[in-house]
């Protein structure tokens, strides 16, 4: 795992590099590079995305109406959210208004996918760190936990399956539903499908509550046995409506971890204020909001903004978290409770929206006509991993002229690498990085739930 610094391509002879490759239990391929002074003091630790997919260029020249299908391939986890962002950007470019019921159905599908994604992340990616923190790799994984506690894993998967099945009966499939199209949705589900989905969702509330209790217990234990290092610094950021995070908000709320005023920005002004700060050593291009040093997006950022009373169970759980650990939650290990808490919120949101969708009359149309014409549009949506923004330009021929994707990993990148450096300085002693320290650094990366394919698109 630890390579010779020369093989890592160190150019400055004074700087020694150690590469931890690959970072495991994340989506996509990345490594951690630690830079040392000649006397083996940590200068910096940085997570590097090792992919480069070029989707923004691939989509140029394609018929605009087919662009969302291709842009959905930016990410395996948040693909539908990219599809939604691309559709909304096109609708903005073409001045199209989506029928209200279609907007409801889109949100319903996305809340369900967010819930399923969080449960999957908890089971496969996060739980091994919390449940079996000091075990050998052969055991510290989902099969190891399954052998120790089959019932807990079965409960977690039962909830995940119920949510996935409800997406399937509403939208055709759960692994990449194609119902979200420019202008609305391709069709509404039938009444029997809506009833079945609601029944499935009603059945998994208790499993999600148990998952929350598990996450809470493991987080309490984790904070006792692990050196938590410095608290997170910078800002947490989410798309909100009246300060409450929503999939599609009417403002972007940015709050400092250290306390202070929350700043809100209009989504269009927000996109205009986002600057790229490319670094030569990574496939991820960091994004910064003008005037803000670093940001965190995703489940922990949304939880810190707080949940509304339209989701009372999630609101109650969030208040429990704030009572135990103080708001804002500013330690990386709170990532697990943020996932569990937001899974409960996703389920509550979905149940409410399914109920609304049942009232849609047969005469309502699922989609608005759309004729791509020259113009530009942008959209911001929340996804399981955090804020996504798309900016699309359509040319005279109705084809994509230019495309810009902004992804959660890019927004998190500066804060994440700063935190990683803090953890490395506190834990790593010299270029002989021991396995426990390597595991500690990888935990710090995982707590930001990075998606490399999305981040390098």
């Amino acid at each position: 795992m630890i390579e010779d610094p020369e093989a890592g391509g160190a150019r400055d002879p004074e700087v020694q590099k150690v590469r931890l490759y690959p970072v495991t239990r994340i989506e996509g391929r990345g490594d951690i590079e630690i830079l040392f002074t000649p006397d083996q003091k940590v200068i910096e630790a940085r997570f590097r995305g090792l992919d480069n997919r070029g989707l923004e260029k691939l989509v140029q020249g394609l018929p605009a109406l087919r662009a969302p299908t291709v842009l959905a391939r930016a990410c395996g986890t948040c693909g539908t959210f990219h599809q939604l962002a691309a559709c909304r950007a096109l609708e903005a470019a073409c001045g199209v208004e989506v029928p209200e019921a279609a907007g409801t159905f889109r949100e319903l599908v996305c809340w369900l996918l967010l819930t399923a994604s969080h449960l999957q992340t908890i089971a496969y990616l996060a739980l091994p760190d919390f449940a079996l923190p000091t075990s050998d790799a052969a055991v510290k994984n989902i099969t190891g936990i399954y052998m120790v506690d089959q019932e807990t894993i079965a409960r977690l998967f039962a909830a995940m399956n119920a949510v996935n099945e409800s997406v399937q009966c509403l939208a055709g499939n759960h692994f990449r539903p194609a119902v979200i199209v420019p202008g609305g949705v391709s069709a509404f589900p039938g009444r029997s499908e809506r009833d079945l989905a609601l029944e499935l969702l009603e059945g998994c509330s208790s499993d999600l509550r148990e998952t929350m209790r598990l996450a809470e217990m493991l987080t309490r234990r984790e904070s006792r046995i692990m050196e938590t290092g410095a608290p997170l610094t910078g800002h947490y950021m989410a798309s909100t409506v009246e300060g409450i995070p929503e999939l599609i908000g009417d403002e972007i709320s940015i709050s400092p971890f250290g306390g202070g005023e929350t700043e809100t920005v209009d989504p269009v002004a927000f996109i205009d204020s986002v600057e790229e700060h490319p670094v030569p050593w990574s496939g991820v291009v960091p994004l910064k909001v003008a005037g803000v040093d670093s940001t965190m997006v995703g489940p922990l950022a949304r939880l810190n903004h707080g949940f509304g009373d339209d989701t009372p169970a999630a609101q109650l759980e969030s208040m429990r978290c704030f009572e135990q650990w103080e708001r804002p939650l500013d330690r990386e290990s709170f990532f697990l409770v943020a996932l569990a808490c937001e899974a409960i919120r996703g389920l509550e949101k979905a149940r409410g929206l399914t109920g609304e969708l049942r009232e849609v009359s047969a005469s309502e149309k699922p989609c608005a006509e759309i004729e791509p014409a020259a113009g530009a549009g942008s959209a911001v949506v929340e996804s399981p991993r955090g804020l996504i923004a798309h900016v699309l330009e359509v040319d005279d021929a109705g084809r994509i002229g230019s495309c810009r994707i902004m992804s959660p990993l890019q927004f998190n990148y500066t804060l994440m690498n700063r935190h990683l450096t803090n953890v490395a300085r506190k834990n790593v002693r010299g270029i002989e990085v021991v396995d426990a320290d390597a595991a500690r650094l990888q935990f710090a990366v995982r707590s930001f739930n990075p998606c490399v394919p999305c981040g390098t698109h």
Binding site: I26, G28, L65, A74, C75, G76, T77, Q120, F157
Partner: protein, 298 residues
């Protein structure tokens, strides 16, 4: 009793070493696999995960009986990884249309997506996105973007347990609940208009749907929800085995038959949409798609 796996010691009969790896990919195939949940975990618990950066904190490729590989070969690092897997494993399963056909990365032909990286420790992007079997021997193909979870799981179990996997020689239409309308389609578009509220064939209603020329097995998941098939499972056996020897000509002929239009008219209508006919099958569909239309043993 099955023979021991590649790392197997006496007493390990039946214990197989299973791995997963992703090359240039979005991660959708792995997500599809993981969404199986408890049956997958129970299955993996009966065997051994030899390496999988998604599931296991093990950092090197080790000998394996079966490796599920998703993604196409795009960078020098991915090529090195693919060759190392090939050298150390018994059977490779190509999962997803990127691994099988090159996927959407093949849309734009031989041009690197970005300039050369200034840092030489980053993988170099190669000019062409290649499907997996252009570099290594593949035992089984599971196309789809992503493939349905049950198809990936069935492919994995079939290789581990030694049975013939599911194979779908029909098209998406054979699973689609929609029915053909009377009359001819006037024109083909990419948009559902004001949406679909009847169980009528999407192509028959004038929406460009790739269902008639696309391999089935997905239970028509998109079309049954009113969304047109984008062809993610690649060309069907019927297209690949036809006498016209051209995926394009067969596609036009099939679309013309289903939409009850003359082939020349269909060809004219889709002349500006050729890119999207081959969204997943790379820059050279006539040759590339033909080369791996079937699961070995069919």
């Amino acid at each position: 009793m099955r023979p021991p796996g590649v790392q197997g010691a006496p007493g390990d009969e039946g214990l197989m070493y299973i791995a997963t790896a992703a090359l240039s990919a979005c991660g959708g195939c792995e997500n599809s696999l993981l969404s199986i949940g408890e049956p997958l975990v129970a299955f993996l618990s009966e065997h051994t995960i030899s390496f999988s950066s998604l599931l296991l904190d093990r950092h090197s490729v080790s000998p394996s009986d079966v490796v599920l590989v998703s993604g196409c070969v795009r960078t020098t690092e991915e090529l090195r990884l693919a060759l190392e897997i090939d050298r150390t494993s018994r059977k490779i399963v190509a999962v997803g249309s990127c691994a099988v056909y090159g996927g959407v990365a093949g849309l734009r032909g031989p041009e690197p997506p970005q300039d050369e990286r200034p840092d030489d420790t980053l993988p170099q992007v190669e000019p062409v996105a290649e499907p997996l079997d252009s570099r290594v021997a593949v035992e089984l193909y599971v196309p789809g973007c992503p493939p349905p979870p049950r198809l990936i799981f069935d492919a994995l179990k079939s290789v581990v347990e030694g049975y013939t996997p599911l194979h779908f020689d029909g098209t998406v239409c054979s699973d689609c609940p929609r029915t053909l309308p009377r009359g001819r389609t006037k024109s083909l578009t990419l948009h559902p208009g004001r949406g679909h509220d009847e169980d009528v064939c999407l192509l028959g209603k004038g929406m460009l749907c790739m269902g008639p020329v696309t391999r089935g097995g997905c239970r028509a998941a998109c079309t049954s929800a009113g969304a047109a098939c984008s062809g993610c499972r690649g060309p069907s056996d019927m297209v690949l085995s036809s006498q016209l020897h051209s995926v394009y000509s067969d596609t036009v002929a099939c679309l013309a038959r289903t939409s009850r239009q003359r082939p020349e008219k269909v060809a004219g209508q889709i002349s500006t949409m050729l890119d999207i006919l081959y969204l997943y099958t790379g820059g050279d569909p006539e040759t590339r798609a033909r080369a791996k239309e079937r699961v070995p043993g069919d």
